[in-house]
Symmetry: C2
DNA sequence: GGCCGTTTGTGATTGCGCTCACAAGCGCCT
DNA sequence: AGGCGCTTGTGAGCGCAATCACAAACGGCC
């Protein structure tokens, strides 16, 4: 298990473990078992052990994992031992909220620029920064060694924003705009879509109500038809 | 394939198809092939066909799918033919941005209440609404028939917010706070975690740089060591 | 030093989702 | 009416991820 190939699913969980581990040091814990970490991260212990085994054998049998050491190893694997410069493209409601969000900085993600295409916004201050011109994106990215682009524009403007980021050399994009972006294969793209999440919840919520109705129906008629269609 | 059991992965893609289809009606398209829809949604056509087949046989061979009809069927399946009332718990940066976000309303999600625990915020207006007291959550949820709770508090306050939502009868929760929430089995929980997404990007970004370094190294030394450990 | 309880690391197995590939079905054109 | 090109719907196969289950390894205690 020493070949470099961490499964995607594992990569997505490492930040979760990391956060739980940081909480634990703050509570003064020295070691943690896979069982304990599993509970904190909301997964099962076998998954934790398998995930961590991809990084190496950092646990001690009969004892558990050293919290500090594990934090270091996961941080290293995730590339968090260095700082990453980010640019937020689009300073609307969401862009402003992201700019103000303190959660980024604490893990080494520095918002180094805010850009917008709207002239009325350019030059205005937002969270101890000044909004710059989208037209200057290439220059800004190169000058400040920005490696991550955060797209917080409208759906209509998002593809253009992404194209410009790509041509400026950005290889990682986080998309908040409600649209599907096309990027070259060598660019990593992740998306966060608020309204899609609500729609997924809606599906399960509706199914619950439907189930409830069926159950009530059964109680009344004492016989349920097997198919909804003849 | 007529038994009610739509795979989770399919449910997560239906909103994506829905959005593409709505775009298409706006451009005046009457029918669309699985190939065309696949391109718009950024997936492959076999997946589209299989996903849609779980809803029923709504396509016409040799022609494609009727856009309007498919919109109706997906909306119905996702429970979007009715409106859903939501409450946003926590009116900080993110909560305010979510309250102002126009993307929710357009798909039948109505933000019916904003609550916070901070007395200095209670009573103040935010986006044509007034922030209410978190203490009144149960009453608000029942009076306005709220079925979806959006947690936008700090990590520390999030579990309490979730507990109160659950005890008020909310069965669907969308969590934006950077922490793992515990909820009963019959409550649907989804999470959106901004900094985790960045950390995942960081992993792949680092791997790219590492690969680049190795490649450069090879060019220089014309021989690469196989293992990093002795 | 040997034994015992605990916890890791990992082969084996299961399950789910994705992709392939093609028969079946539809409209159109001649 | 028959043939042709196109597109759907779906069984079959495959691969990744989750889970299971247990041998191996460790610390502590007698």
């Amino acid at each position: 298990m020493r070949e470099r190939a961490i499964p995607e699913a594992t990569v997505a969980r490492l930040p979760l473990y990391l956060r739980s581990l940081v909480d634990m040091t703050e509570r003064g814990m020295q070691t943690i078992s896979s069982e304990g970490l599993a509970e904190a991260a909301g997964v099962n212990s076998a998954k934790v052990r398998k995930d961590l085994s991809y990084l190496g054998s950092y646990g001690t049998r009969g004892v558990g994992y050293d919290v500090e050491y594990l934090i270091y190893q996961i941080s290293r694997e995730l590339g968090l031992t260095q700082d990453w410069n980010c640019v937020i493209v689009g300073v609307g409601n969401l862009g402003r909220a992201l700019a103000n969000y303190r959660g980024f900085g604490e893990r080494g993600f520095r918002v180094s620029a805010l850009v917008d295409i709207d002239e009325t916004k350019i030059g205005k201050p937002v969270d101890s920064m000044v909004v710059e011109d989208f037209a200057d994106l290439e220059r800004i990215v190169k000058e400040r060694e920005i490696s991550i682009g955060i797209v917080a524009t409208t759906a209509a403007a998002a593809q253009d924003a992404a194209d410009r980021l790509v041509s400026a050399g950005v290889k990682s994009i986080l998309n908040f705009a409600p649209t599907v972006l096309q990027v070259p294969d060598d660019v990593s793209l992740r998306k966060v879509d608020l309204s899609i999440e609500l729609q997924i919840l809606s599906f399960y919520e509706q199914r619950k109500s439907a189930l409830e109705t069926v159950r009530r129906g059964k109680r009344l008629t004492a016989s349920a038809s097997k198919s909804t269609r003849p």
